[in-house]
Point group: C2
């Protein structure tokens, strides 16, 4: 960090991938790829007057049915007030169902309704189509590297959430 130029130029090229220039290109790749990543579902959501926040909520409720509001909060990284607005519209539109907890009545457990699942399917189909094409073009080794780097880039806390979700679906 201190030198601002990364590795000095005399090094063996086995570390070329750690130069500041390489890192910067990695950042730009993240930026441009993320745009592509969200573009397809975004287009669908416009017509529904929903935004990306709705998509995220739907995605993770589908992924972990019965999850509580608080749990969803931690995964999404927003305030509960912000999530609540999204949830309220999804519930009143009949896409999400909220059930009072049996053991702890303070908790609300969230589930997708049939229409909610249909929308989730539509959104994730759109998103997956692009990613599947990218995976196919890049090949299995590149995909493995892709995931390794992304995992290393996460905050440790979020990495745990990610791994927990990953393992829960096997």
């Amino acid at each position: 960090m201190a030198d601002g130029r990364g590795l000095s130029s005399g090094n063996s090229d086995s570390l070329l991938f750690l130069t500041d220039e390489q890192i910067r290109q990695g950042s730009e790749a993240m930026f441009f790829a993320y745009r592509g990543f969200t573009a397809d579902p975004d287009r669908i959501l416009i017509d529904l007057a929903y935004g990306r926040a709705h998509h995220r909520a739907i995605h993770f409720i589908n992924r972990a049915p019965g999850t509580t509001v608080n749990n969803l909060l931690n995964i999404l990284g927003v305030t509960k007030q912000s999530l609540n607005r999204v949830l309220r519209t999804l519930i009143s539109d009949g896409l999400v169902q909220s059930r009072v907890g049996r053991n702890d009545k303070r908790e609300r457990h969230l589930y997708l309704t049939d229409p909610g699942r249909a929308l989730e399917q539509q959104l994730s189909d759109a998103q997956r189509a692009r990613m599947r094409a990218a995976f196919r073009d890049a090949g299995p080794e590149a995909v493995a590297g892709f995931r390794t780097v992304l995992e290393a880039m996460m905050d440790p806390e979020l990495r745990q959430s990610y791994i927990r979700l990953k393992d829960s679906s096997t």
Copy 2:
């Protein structure tokens, strides 16, 4: 897309990375990693009353000094009204300089001032630290795969912008 379950389960595992479940994990990895990716600069920007949009503008002006407003618009993918608000504050805060074009006087060419460059350095240092650590942990092959997949995920138009920037800096 039509089957909704990706590859059938009887296939050889050489294509296992293309199952819907794998793709979904890739999406979640993107989501969580992008959060980490933006977290560090975001923390710095809060104190300055700037947002992510300011960071992006500063980044790309630094990357392509003398770029025009229109060019920046295409790269950032926002409306000119939106960019203009950002640019106005950056210029009036003395971080960005706007010069009338020599050949075409309608154009404005954008440059970072010394304080602008200093902030760019601070922001990208924060962002690069995380990515450098991730790259180091993952190793060169993973990094290559990471970039391959991200590139394949971009919109073709943005991929061109990305490649142009990449090549211009060698």
